[in-house]
Symmetry: C2
Subunit: 355 residues, 2 copies
């Protein structure tokens, strides 16, 4: 391995590459990783020297806080390669800001912008050959931080590890998605951590989602935990509705993640003169619209799938099938957004940032 | 190292011991670990061969599910050595059952009783010299399970690691504990994972607890997230109140952990003819009792501290100091319970189990 210094990041290059073993036409989402990773440790009250090094397992003590008390946060981002072989990020500042909001809520240290952004850019440059051109192709980026301090006592760790790993992905199609509206389980408490991209929020959803799967549904639409009357998120995505030609989504709150795709779609739709309303959407609104024929679409929005169309929902044991629409708002917005991300259409919003 | 087989557990003994480096008079809770640990992996849909081996860091892939989606659960237990050098566990069946309840809620595989109990017993026997006699001395036992499957996609892992680690402890005294009653933050949602001993529940409490610390309080009394009117837990413990000579605690629910110390204290108090009521305790009950002079005690109950007396509470910016009581219910029950655990008093309940 060769060791070089660039912008204060130590770079330890892998002597070999795994790239020739990868079938880029048949990638299973989030399962293949590039040759390198970025790592920066926090100890003695400060961030240590960052390093880019070969992707590999690492050692942790069995008493590491992340295993016992769950201090762990992450982000999901993507990088794209345009037809000129230039690599672009999409609104990376939004992910960076949200990462540190999550850190604060989980009593973890904030990551300095230089460490986050330089690490991300240099890692992408080093593993640039893994980013493929073409619609749907992208590099999924996973920055994450875990508590590495030792000891089984329930208080915040004094040591942390921040890492970025990269996984090449193709377009994500989940198949037909029927959803179950949550009547008992929920993903977030008032005064809880639902707005943080904290690891524990996801594990909490698995069991109710498994139950939904067994009942024939691919995802759960989460409702507020106190009354189960407000529609809040779909699976691990924000959720949108089209009722009577109005695009509806709930305002973000301490229970709802401030999704980058969510806010981007709101801006895109507004610029396309689609009528958008950000307001609490009630289960009763949805059922009434389904019954009187004004419900046109439901879709999830997130980095991984971009937009995920929902074909029907179940509530109180009644299944409501959505109409099949040729020119859906979901498909239109997804197409617009992916064209901007892939630099096939002008980015008049300034969302794309060159690596 | 010597390798032997005992009851199907492979035992890989450490060639050396760290025991002579430990100051058993000055142990910081949960920070010193014994020479060995117990480990059993789950993969290909089944539990693999368990092993006891030297306590050491282990390798994990950066994409391990525990880092990203927080599937992680644990238990807290203690073992005690009596004056005859016999080692005893306290109600281990309760911890075992709760561990598997947590596993189900977090979509993790249940651990077979033989693996849990044999692993625990043989590990304690091997590191028996680390368990010290005398009131307050105990071996804190931490069984835990983490998701080790690889891949950054938000669904349950197909690989897990179950471990038991041991930490010798002395009696735990937190100093004076003043508490803040939560008016905004909360630890659990309706339909959430509050009743599971899931890692993510603990990290969620750190930030609000830090804010309480900064305001001069050692802990937070958590209230229900929907209305903040019901008193539910104190820090990471169940909470009890003595009002007008009645011992009060909330019923367990999906928001409240079914604590082993909690249920033990209820049974002990009942057998001592203390008037016990298990019912929702309102913030307004507490404030009224503090004002009219009928509030006698507040205390937390859990494995680590056993009983933790609270000296006062703050609610809506008013601080209520509790009376100093010579013969408190808390001290009486703690004394009874630790005497039973340390085999200094007859265990007529059958709670203690020989290792």
């Amino acid at each position: 391995m060769s060791t070089t210094q660039t912008n204060q990041i130590e770079i330890l290059k892998s002597p070999t590459t795994k790239i020739n073993e990868v079938d880029f036409e048949n990638l299973s989402f989030g399962s293949v990783f590039t040759d390198h990773l970025f790592e920066c440790d926090f100890k003695n009250g400060e961030w240590q020297k960052p390093i880019i090094k070969p992707y590999a397992p690492f050692l942790l003590d069995p008493s590491s806080r992340v295993f016992h008390y769950g201090q762990a946060i992450f982000e999901g981002m993507k990088a794209y390669k345009d037809t000129q072989e230039t690599v672009w990020l999409f609104r990376p500042d939004e992910n960076y800001k949200r990462f540190n909001k999550s850190a604060v809520r989980m009593a973890m240290p904030e990551v300095p912008e230089e460490i986050f952004m330089n690490g991300l850019n240099q890692l992408l440059q080093l593993d640039e050959a893994w980013i493929k051109k073409g619609s749907g192709n992208a590099m999924y980026i996973r920055p994450f931080m875990i508590a590495t301090g030792k000891g089984v006592i329930a208080n915040p760790s004094n040591e942390y590890k921040f890492m970025i790993i990269l996984s090449p992905v193709t377009s994500y199609y989940a198949g037909e998605v029927k959803v179950l509206i949550a009547e008992h389980f929920s993903r977030a408490a008032n005064g809880g951590i639902g707005a943080a991209k904290a690891a524990g929020n996801y594990a909490a959803q698995f069991y109710p989602t498994n139950l939904a799967n067994e009942a024939g549904f691919q995802q759960v639409i989460w409702t507020d935990d106190a009354t189960h009357t407000k529609l809040e998120e779909a699976g691990t995505m924000n959720v949108f509705f089209v009722i009577n030609n109005v695009l509806l989504t709930a305002p973000v709150s301490e229970r709802i993640l401030d999704g980058v795709t969510r806010k981007t779609l709101i801006d895109l739709a507004t610029s396309e003169n689609i009528n958008v309303e950000v307001r609490p959407v009630l289960v009763s609104d949805l059922v009434e619209a389904a019954k009187n024929g004004t419900l046109q679409e439901i879709f999830g929005a997130g980095t991984a799938a971009v937009v995920s169309q929902i074909s029907g929902f179940s509530y109180q044991d009644i299944y409501y099938e959505l109409p099949k629409i040729d020119n859906s708002v979901a498909a239109h917005l997804k197409n617009k957004l992916t064209n901007i991300q892939n630099k096939l259409e002008e980015d008049k919003f300034g969302w794309t940032v060159k690596v």
